[in-house]
């Protein structure tokens, strides 16, 4: 018993040094050496200023931008407070919220039913993507606001649509930040 207690103390300390300190520091070193950009969060610059991460969503609400999904992270897309709404499917709070968003979107584009991802919050609250259906739904509004042909905007959407990984894993998706940055580059808002 006493012998095992002594071993337990030393064993905890020695393995903490190996697995709790040396291992993560070693991985940090290798990651910084081989995948510097990715290990640091794929930060995006615009005219010399950091404007976001390529894989973390951020809020857009003007008509000239593609909008991301609603977010439950803090006041919306707050990466220091990631998380979902955790509302159950029968919760009135959820149903009221979706109803409000559906009405707002229908006033923009009455021609189609609302793609479900555009009115539901993601699990992380930081979803960088929308579905191609949700992008298609917004093309008319964005084109109008920027005074551009719809087909040209559709071309940008296509360019920033990622297909399934290896052709079959996951779902096709459109990165909202990348798409909006491209719009700002090619057709700046007046």
């Amino acid at each position: 018993m006493k012998k095992n207690l002594l071993i337990a103390v030393w064993f905890t300390l020695v393995t903490t040094v190996i697995f709790g300190v040396l291992y993560p520091l070693g991985i940090t070193g290798l990651a910084q050496l081989f995948f510097r950009d990715r290990a640091n969060g794929q930060l995006v610059e615009k005219s010399g200023q950091l404007v976001g991460s390529g894989i973390i969503g951020q809020a857009f609400s003007g008509p000239g931008y593609f909008h991301p999904r609603p977010s439950s992270a803090g006041t919306g897309y707050d990466p220091t407070a990631s998380g979902g709404s955790n509302l159950s499917p029968t919760n009135k709070t959820l149903l009221e919220r979706v109803k409000g968003d559906v009405q707002k979107l229908q006033s923009e584009n009455a021609s189609a039913a609302i793609p479900v991802d555009l009115v539901t919050t993601s699990g992380s609250g930081l979803d960088p993507d929308i579905s191609p259906a949700a992008a298609e739904f917004q093309i008319a509004r964005v084109a109008r606001a920027r005074g551009v042909q719809e087909d040209e905007v559709r071309g940008f959407v296509k360019k920033y649509t990622k297909d399934r990984d290896l052709g079959f894993l996951g779902e096709p998706r459109v990165n909202v930040l990348e798409l909006n940055l491209e719009l700002d580059r090619s057709h700046p808002l007046r």
Binding site: M1, K3, N4, L5, I7, A8, F11, T12, L13, V14, T15, T16, I18, G20, Y23, P24, T28, A31, Q32, F34, F35, A39, G41, Q49, V51, G52, S53, I56, Q58, A59, F60, S61, T75, Y77, P79, A81, G84, N86, L87, S88, P89, T90, N91, L95, V102, A113, P115, V116, T120, S122, G123, S124, D127, S131, A133, A134, L169, G170, E171, P172
Partner: protein, 590 residues
């Protein structure tokens, strides 16, 4: 449901099937102290660890000493984690200057990570320093996983050895598990994750300027809503990838960030997602082969694997179906799957994963006692959310937690051969060992502790204000939230119906108690079984022996698991998710 969705699920099971044999053989060699290709690198490290800690390589333990060593290690390492959490303010690697963790939360978290549960009543990105994450939490991901695996090995030795009371040396088994099994794959795995975009740095959080400043409504402490303009985004960073690998491979499941594997920095791509679920099932599946190999009955190992695969497939099918159908109460939305969207119930799910990968991940994480999530279980449809609940209620024996799944299924195997023995009127045998009253009693004890812990705590929590005040979703879903908390804790899973406010005195202490009961009152009876079996003679197989191989045995095993689970939990389920499902179809909301 789509053809592409099914393709991913079937492909996943195929990959797990193909990994089973090589991993099973490798683990057999590691724990039998045979040569492996990593010996030239790892053997010197192993010797240093023994010299520094005073481990005697020649000493073999009886089951009682093994249990004591395991408990001492768990106790000491839990105390160290508590200490780190309580002093993180004064320790290095705390760029966000987080204060020390509150005592109740620190204790709950220490219990949770020591028991391989990783139930989290806090948000990592706003609570834990980098040092606490690395040396405290990620370290326990390694330690608790190793403890689970070596216990499974001891149970296998108990079946395989005869007429001895020696079952191996806890310190050596744990060291070899850490160095040979967990470390190499975690090094490779971490780097794969970084290559996909999982962050790995020690930098302070990054502040960026938003492209379009946003006006948001904020409700202040006085309840008044005010508008604010947000111009910046603070992006949380950290040593995530190194923790991510062991989080999945050790079926721990505790996220670096609050959003766990839904967070783009923890799980950025469908490929990283696929790799995560492969890591979760890899060891549990491999251990079924180790069971067959070490006991000399490979067909028994595969029969157990088949029973597990059947239950996995039943679960994922139900969950995928329920989520793909969507939520009938969301009027005006298009929830049909098409080439342009996955459709379905997307509340709490990520676009890159869609319905199929969210359903697959949720099934895998609760079949195993992992508890990582890539979508929020609380927002699943009632029947979709019931599948994770049932998976954990069955004892997480569908592949299961690393080690815990295997010793869990051995308990059910003992029960199954006992029932078969009663039916044919002969003394039950398991791989040549007579199963006697002591073994069956210990098996039942392990099962009953889980049941009493879950239903007991839930019963108290749903009738007392300190329990019900944490419920966030009204109606029958509230019961599901409380039930899930104790199912997840007692089962050492760690996933949650996360709307429940678990950071209260009652939930911090009661879930910690449930975790400790669910872990150690399972382990000790199981070790006792191992000790008892090892002492017995091995009998030659006779005409009256009920075979533990083949389809008949696999079906009996599945039936035993399902019947025990259903008899115990059906009443609770019918008042929670089943009732909510019927009310949802009737158009009711709460």
């Amino acid at each position: 449901m789509t053809a592409n969705g099914w393709l991913q699920i079937v492909f996943y099971l195929l990959v797990i099937f193909l990994l089973t044999k090589p991993l099973g053989i490798y683990m057999t060699r590691v724990f039998s102290r045979e040569k492996t290709f990593l010996d030239p690198v790892l053997r010197p490290v192993e010797r240093i660890v023994y010299r520094l800690t005073g481990v005697d390589e020649k000493h073999e333990m009886r089951w009682t000493e093994y249990a004591i060593a395991m408990l001492l290690f768990s106790g000491v390492s839990m105390a160290l984690l508590y200490l780190i959490e309580r002093t993180q303010k004064w320790l290095p690697l705390n760029p966000q200057k987080f204060p020390n963790v509150e005592p109740g939360l620190a204790f709950g978290t220490a219990a949770s990570f020591t028991t391989n549960t990783n139930w989290q009543a806090y948000s990592g990105e706003s609570t834990m320093s980098y040092l606490t994450q690395m040396a405290g939490l990620a370290y326990h991901n390694f330690a608790s996983a190793a403890v689970g695996i070596v216990l499974a090995i001891v149970v296998i030795r108990g079946i395989a050895r005869k007429e001895t009371d020696k079952l191996g040396n806890f310190w050596m088994d744990t060291t070899r598990c850490l160095l040979w099994v967990l470390l190499p794959i975690c090094i490779v795995g971490s780097l794969v994750f970084v290559s996909q975009g999982v962050v790995q740095n020690l930098k302070p959080y990054t502040t960026v300027q938003l492209i379009e400043p946003q006006t948001v409504q904020v409700t202040g402490a006085d309840g008044k809503a005010t508008t604010q303009t947000v111009t910046q985004q603070v992006i949380a960073q950290g040593p995530v990838a190194s923790q991510e690998a062991i989080k999945e491979f050790g079926t721990n499941g505790g996220g670096f960030f609050n959003a766990n594997s839904a967070h783009p920095f923890e799980n950025p791509t469908p490929l990283s997602n696929f790799f995560q679920i492969v890591l979760i099932f890899a060891i549990p599946s491999g251990l079924t082969y180790t069971l067959g190999r070490m006991t000399g009955s490979q067909r028994h190992g595969w029969a157990v694997w088949a029973a597990m695969a059947f239950l996995f497939f039943a679960g994922v099918t139900t969950l995928y179906w329920a989520e793909a159908r969507g939520n009938p109460l969301l009027a005006g939305t298009d929830q049909r799957a098409s080439a342009l969207q996955s459709g379905g119930n997307m509340e709490g799910k990520e676009v890159r994963f869609g319905i199929a990968n969210s359903a697959l991940f949720a099934t895998v994480t609760t079949d195993a006692s992992c508890g990582a999530v890539n979508g929020m279980h609380d927002s699943f449809t009632p029947l979709g959310g019931m599948v994770p609940l049932i998976n954990i209620m069955l004892g997480e024996v569908v592949f299961g937690g690393v080690g815990a799944g295997l010793y869990g299924i051995v308990v059910f195997v003992i029960l199954a051969v006992f029932i078969a023995g009663l039916m044919v009127g002969r003394t039950p045998e398991y791989l040549g060992k007579k199963i006697e009253s002591y073994d069956v009693k210990m098996a039942m004890l392990a099962i009953l502790v889980l049941t009493f812990t879950i239903l007991g705590f839930s019963a108290v929590a749903v009738v007392r204000p300190f329990g019900t005040s944490s419920i966030s979703n009204p109606g029958p879903h509230g019961l599901s939230q409380v039930l899930y908390a104790y199912v997840s804790s007692a089962g050492n899973n760690g996933s949650a119906f996360a709307g429940l406010n678990a950071n209260t005195m009652w939930y911090n202490t009661s879930t910690a108690a449930a975790q400790l009961l669910g872990r150690f009152f399972m382990i000790i009876p199981v070790l006792a079984i191992a000790g008892s079996l090892a002492k017995k003679k091995t009998l030659p197989e006779s005409a009256g022996t009920f075979p533990v191989t083949g389809g008949l045995f696999a079906s009996l095993l599945v039936s035993t698991i399902v019947i025990v689970g259903a008899l115990t939990f059906f009443p609770a389920l019918s008042l929670g998710p089943i009732l909510e499902h019927l009310l949802m179809l009737a158009g009711k909301s709460f």
